[in-house]
């Protein structure tokens, strides 16, 4: 039997476009598996020559799901360039919008993208594994997902001006103060949002026992973890310092100022993907593989700092038995805890008198020629680095998008799942769905899903070593 290659193109129910290739050996056993990000965006290049003030608006267009994350990282980089510290109200407004974004994005992943797998199982007919089927069989759950996501989006719209690509976060702070009426409107919806979030968590935990094989083989391996963290060890998504831990939970680097990220993170480029592969520099490439995102954040933080999330964090930490949780399947669990944290934190910040004070923005002129903005996006740590002339014209840009940090781990993860589930002599739809589901664990945002039109279909091609297609399985 000849060597064969299975290609899953595009990967479905993720944000953005990617394809997976699975290489089979002569006996039909999995030899290797890789994810290829097939889009090229060019932001780092075409931003050159533009004014620094435009960067939040331009880089927000990297994505339609998590534009807030880019706006936050971008404005933080510009704050550095302007050498300005936003007033506390401005920071709090940014934090609330950022948390609302994390809430809506995590909700999207759980309810809209991943829950069909949990409800119907990974072997369910492909026609059933989508939110439309869920609307028929679990209408309350589907509606809850929409309500919870809308709650996050409404906060972004109220405070940021627009649901997608908001303009309310500006260099030096925020564009507008929070009005009392807006605060009341958001606070009023919090109890219902919390009820939905807790319901989702309960459902997930009750059904977890069905997926033991997936838990064991969906990117379950030792790796480093990276996230922002407060100096007191609490969960942080906006401020804080960077921390790296290893798979045993030992702290490798503590208190890294995000401005110095380049001393610790290297960027490798692979021939078959447009997504770069960052790695932890002291361990080199590819040994310095690390994971970011909800799983990494909860592994690194000792507490969330809010009561309900902390209660659940104890259960989460118990899974690792005192060590970091290494199963990527638990990204889903971590995201659900973060939804609860986000709701609690939004309430806490809104009730902080400082948040509704009048001064929300400070202005300044270009004072430095380099600035790094770092924040925790739903999918992990995001870096924006800008270099400017003294007049404020951008001369160089470097972006490490949250998903990129997970690139090496995602590749290792799909290989692990492919080895566990794919048999080249009997390629089943359920096995291939599991390989895609590994990617869904990481909830990658492969840039700008808003540009995907029409019905997303999936095509799996089985090719021999000469790349001749010998079998095609199509989904649409």
């Amino acid at each position: 039997m000849e060597n064969k290659k299975i290609i899953i193109d595009p990967v479905t129910r993720i944000e953005g476009h990617a394809k997976i290739t699975i290489d089979l050996d002569c006996d039909g056993k999995v030899e290797d598996a890789k994810i290829h990000v097939t889009q090229y965006r060019g932001f780092e290049k075409f931003c050159e020559g533009r004014m620094y003030t435009e960067m939040p608006a331009i880089t927000a267009r990297t994505c339609g799901i998590c534009p807030v994350s880019h706006v936050v990282a971008s404005t933080k980089a510009i704050d550095e360039i302007l050498a300005v510290t936003p007033p506390q109200a401005g920071i709090n407004i940014r934090k609330i919008i950022n948390l609302a974004q994390i809430l809506q994005s995590h909700t999207l992943n759980f309810f809209h993208l991943s829950s069909p797998d949990f409800i119907y199982g990974f072997d369910a007919p492909k026609e059933d594994r989508n939110i439309f089927k869920m609307m028929q069989t679990h209408p309350v759950m589907a509606k809850d997902g929409i309500i919870l996501r809308a709650f996050g989006q409404k906060i972004i719209e109220e405070l940021g001006g627009k649901r997608i690509h908001p303009t309310g976060i500006t260099p030096g702070g925020a564009a507008k103060k929070i009005e009392e009426s807006q605060k009341e409107m958001i606070l009023k919806e919090i109890p219902n949002a919390m009820k939905i979030a807790q319901g989702a968590l309960k459902y997930f935990k009750e059904n977890l026992h069905k997926f033991q094989k997936e838990i064991d083989s969906f990117a379950t391996f030792p790796s480093l973890f990276m996230a922002l963290i407060n100096p007191d060890g609490t969960l942080e998504h906006y401020d804080g310092v960077l921390r790296f831990i290893d798979s045993e939970g030992n702290i490798l680097e503590e208190g890294i100022d995000p401005q110095n990220y380049k001393d610790y993170i290297g960027e490798a480029v692979e021939e078959d993907s447009y997504l770069k592969s960052p790695y932890y520099k002291p361990l080199g490439y590819p040994m310095g593989m690390y994971r970011v995102g909800a799983l990494a954040r909860l592994n690194i933080a000792s507490t969330c700092g809010t009561p309900l999330a902390d209660e659940e964090l104890k259960n989460f930490k118990a899974l690792g038995g005192g060590k970091p949780v290494l199963n990527s399947f638990y990204y889903h669990y971590a995201r659900l805890i973060e939804i609860i944290y986000a709701i609690e934190k939004i309430e806490e910040l809104l009730n902080d008198d400082e948040t509704i004070s009048e001064t929300v923005r400070r202005t300044s002129k270009v004072s430095k020629n380099r600035g790094v903005g770092c924040s925790e996006a739903p999918r992990g740590t995001l870096f924006h680095e800008y270099h400017v002339t003294k007049e404020g014209v951008i001369t160089a840009v470097n972006l490490i998008i949250a998903t990129g940090n997970n690139n090496l781990a995602m590749n290792a993860g799909i290989k692990q799942a492919a080895l566990a589930f794919v048999d080249g002599n009997n390629i089943t739809d359920g096995a291939l769905n599991r390989v895609e589901a590994v990617i869904r664990c990481f909830d990658p945002c492969l840039s700008c899903s808003t540009h995907a039109l029409g019905i997303v279909s999936s095509k799996i091609e089985v090719r021999d070593h000469n790349k001749n297609i010998i079998k095609v399985i199509e989904r649409n």
């Binding site: 004014m51 939040p56 500006t170 260099p171 002129k365 007049e391 014209v393």
Partner: protein
Amino acid sequence: MIREKVRVKTFKINGVDVTGQSNQTILEVARDNGIEIPTLCHLEGLSCVGSCRMCIVEIKGSREPTPACTAKIKEGIEVTTNSSKIEATRKMILSMMFSERTHTCSTCVANGDCELQNKSVELELQHSQVPYLNKRFEIDASHKNFVNDPNRCILCTRCIRVCDEIEGAHALDLAGRGLSTRIIHDMDEPWADSQSCTSCGKCVYVCPTGALYEKDVSEEEVIKKRGIILELVKNRGKY
């Protein structure tokens, strides 16, 4: 100098009899009679140059469309301000403006306060009818208060006219030809080095797009004061 005597002329716009003074343009008489003709480079208080061709109208017997802002009225002419041919031509002109430079509304400082954007809505131009050229121009951010981004310039020359006619400095002018034409300061020097610019900001406030704008403002934050020119002219007793 022998001045031509101003006379009253009678003619037709869209089949309706109208009268005006012989030194008036078709645009002025049309607006006096409540007939709207779209304009872009025209700004009340400044001279008319007919550079944008947005106000083109048809005059019976003439093969070519005529810009209403510069065409003086004549006795007995029959003007049509709206026909399917004119509408199509205006849309094509607007498309060509979009294609020549990089007008990305969503990330522009003038988003929401841009005359080019508003004109597209008014004329129902949903997409450019010609391909984008994606030509890149260097931004001049040397001035301490203002930015000149030629990527958003439609070459209406309002800035040149306001600097010359109202401020009296004539610090701005055009350089280059065709697609490469740019607004320059003095002898094509960085704005900050211009000896004749008074930094009054009038050019910035009359610019119809986000080509000239105040420094340090972000998306949608541009400040335009296009009405101030007419006020200044009135204050000087010219109206």
